[in-house]
Symmetry: D2
């Protein structure tokens, strides 16, 4: 079965001709991501903030196995109703890949239960992403680390639940470290947070970064999607006998 991916992008910085992002990602930073996933044979759809329902209609959600999410300046404009629907879909099994500044999205904060706060700095500094779990499916095909010559810094303390699987930790030239590749299981869904991707750097043109996103999509793809209901089990599976018939 072909994995069906929805690449969601806020798509605002790139439309501002005065912003570096408009040059680096003239068609939106979702384009290199979507293009790479299509080349790998996945079925890819794009959705953006300024579409009706942010492009995330019930029909789109019903046909999405894994969603990627990039947002930054307009987190507050994402409607609560859409966030609620996407969260429910993740709990039912849809995979979710949260990218970079998506750490402060309503969606990520609701799924984590924490603030997503962190330290940051824009100083064109080197990031080295170390693979601490080389056997993990998301690390497939990578070397010992990925070097990005210039990126925004994110530093600890990153206010997240301890990841269920910690795959990457970043080193920054200015002296900080960051848990930059984190897996969580929520409901039936799998969530991966991947740190790099500031809009003013060509990070989503980096082949290793794209490989990680592809690996993460495959890791997060569900085998089935189903809600976990509340059930009143009136008829027990076993006969319930009063105390005196038991051994203790």
């Amino acid at each position: 079965m072909t994995i069906r991916v929805t690449v969601w992008n806020e798509f605002r910085h790139e439309k501002d001709a005065s912003h570096a992002a408009s040059t680096i990602y003239p068609n939106g930073l979702h384009e290199p991501i979507a293009s790479h996933l299509r080349q790998q044979g996945l079925e890819v759809r794009i959705a953006t903030l300024d579409e009706p329902e942010h492009g995330l209609t019930d029909e789109v959600l019903a046909n999405t196995d894994v969603m990627t999410w990039w947002g930054h300046m307009a987190h507050a404009e994402v409607s609560d109703a859409v966030v609620e629907k996407v969260q429910q879909r993740v709990l039912e099994g849809m995979g979710l890949i949260v990218l970079h500044s998506g750490h402060h999205s309503k969606l990520f904060k609701r799924l984590m239960g924490t603030t997503g706060n962190l330290k940051w700095r824009e100083a064109d500094e080197r990031e080295r992403i170390w693979i601490v779990e080389p056997g993990h499916p998301i690390a497939e095909g990578l070397g010992e680390y990925i070097t990005l010559e210039a990126e925004e810094m994110y530093g600890e303390r990153f206010d997240i639940p301890a990841p269920d699987e910690l795959v990457f930790v970043s080193w920054f030239q200015g002296g900080e470290i960051f848990r930059s590749g984190c897996c969580w299981y929520r409901g039936r869904g799998r969530i991966f947070y991947f740190r790099p991707g500031h809009e003013s750097y060509p990070t989503y043109h980096n082949q290793d970064v794209l490989k990680v996103i592809y690996n993460a999509v495959r890791w997060a793809a569900p085998h089935t999607i189903a809600a976990t209901p509340v059930v009143n089990v009136k008829v027990p599976l076993e006969t319930i006998t009063p105390k005196e018939s038991a051994a203790d």
Copy 2:
């Protein structure tokens, strides 16, 4: 330092003279809990749903190290503003012990990011709570299991994030099992969910149940309470040098 505990109770069932809870817990089910914690030397305050701000003013929150939470029929009446404040306090370090039907409280669902859904049955059946991590501080002073001769059944699948530490698993006579003692770390705070405590059974008069709650309060007590801010670290800790000066 004496641990300061706020025992929060919805306190509705017990005021209904036609409900078994009014006989089992004439002064509210918070009373045996509060009384036990006081006997152990803790400083205990009580707060209930029908007080102004549900009894959870800024002053109360500022002076609470650990909160216990029992709610059932009126989860929807808890104000979002209070839930928001309590959640923030947990992330800053306040311990939280969620009891029984509190699994569906707004507070628990927000901190977990999941629905808290589960199976249930009222059939006066036996529950045996097995200790699967006997070395855990919350298991101090317990035997191999706790038997409750009659309780409501809660069954899997329980829609929670996999606990960071799973201390208890319950066996039910009718054929189900349940992860009934679960620890999570969120922000700087520690959260413990403890399953038993249906309002129509005398569970909170059981000495082992009270011992677990006391152990959990001690385990969840913070060493410091502090927010995790967003910080723009303009001055780096280390000198940032351009690419050509580095080895790779």
Copy 3:
């Protein structure tokens, strides 16, 4: 790439004509397991205790992606040299599925660092294996639980490291529970322990049990196999400057 599986079996009970196992599994309990995996298209090899090197030569290990392990009465006869080699191969990435009484094998105890001790009883009692993580790959295609009408009981406390992922918990008619489907990551390898499979019951003829083993093999298959060496990194990746040149 076809997954290459080695199904390892102690293969002693089945050769004893007075033992029930000789009737239930006339060709060894490895046969229904191997047969099922072959039907699913995997490449399967069998190895048993009484072969030279227990059937686990360097050549076999070099060509195994995932190994399943069943042992019981003769754990002590497995040579330390073979255990050492298999452990190293797991750390390099080979998947390992440990079945039932394999909890006391030298191999499992070395990989866990614990005793593997537990409670047990042979009383032809019902086991109900509850799926607590229905979204997990090992739960694919299963319902809410698997019922085995008669099995040996294993009860907590099971002396294992808390599993990295807990997929199944068993209910037993006699009053116990057990963490019966447990995942661990060790080195680059993935390990799954699956409880059922006492030799005097036809458990390995049960289709759901076989499905779990197949799912587990797929989950445990590595993407690459490689050792983690000790490396003296004499030339640093970055220029190391003395204290006075840094900001702090």
Copy 4:
């Protein structure tokens, strides 16, 4: 109850007058550790490799709540019998703090089940130990990070099971990162690995490093020490009835 600590040290480098350790730690690197723990009111005993039974007699083990372990050049000289006894004691509940090069000790490798391999470099470089879980008991009283102006580098991939709680991650000037404060639960025991402490640097005179060791000792202290036996539970807790009497 006063916590009873045994500070174990290989104590070889310090006796070599040509080695820097003999100047930095003239009485052994165990001395500043033991001295600090005593000042905090703990009951401290010292044991070293060259004593009979390495100073770890049954009597010493029976009276130890938490052990700290530093070894480096003579791991192979530690007798298997002593390692076996100490491992069993940890599984029964004794806390264990493994320091620096103890990552390659027989004891640590047996408890982890992995090789403990890593990268290393001696280049007098700066280490900055970031606290990623500030709410953890082992982080009590620390700031955001600890700076050590000169230390040996340890780098990933560190071949350990993913820690149950990751408290510290180190940044190194030469470009590496390392999971440098790791908690595991094994049996009833608690294990903490703490990275810094190369013998040619005055690391164990650093007040923050000593504070971490003290915090870790308190965190690892057991509430009870007891083995987990194998038990044949011949008499079930509940009446076992044949299939036809049950609901399914």
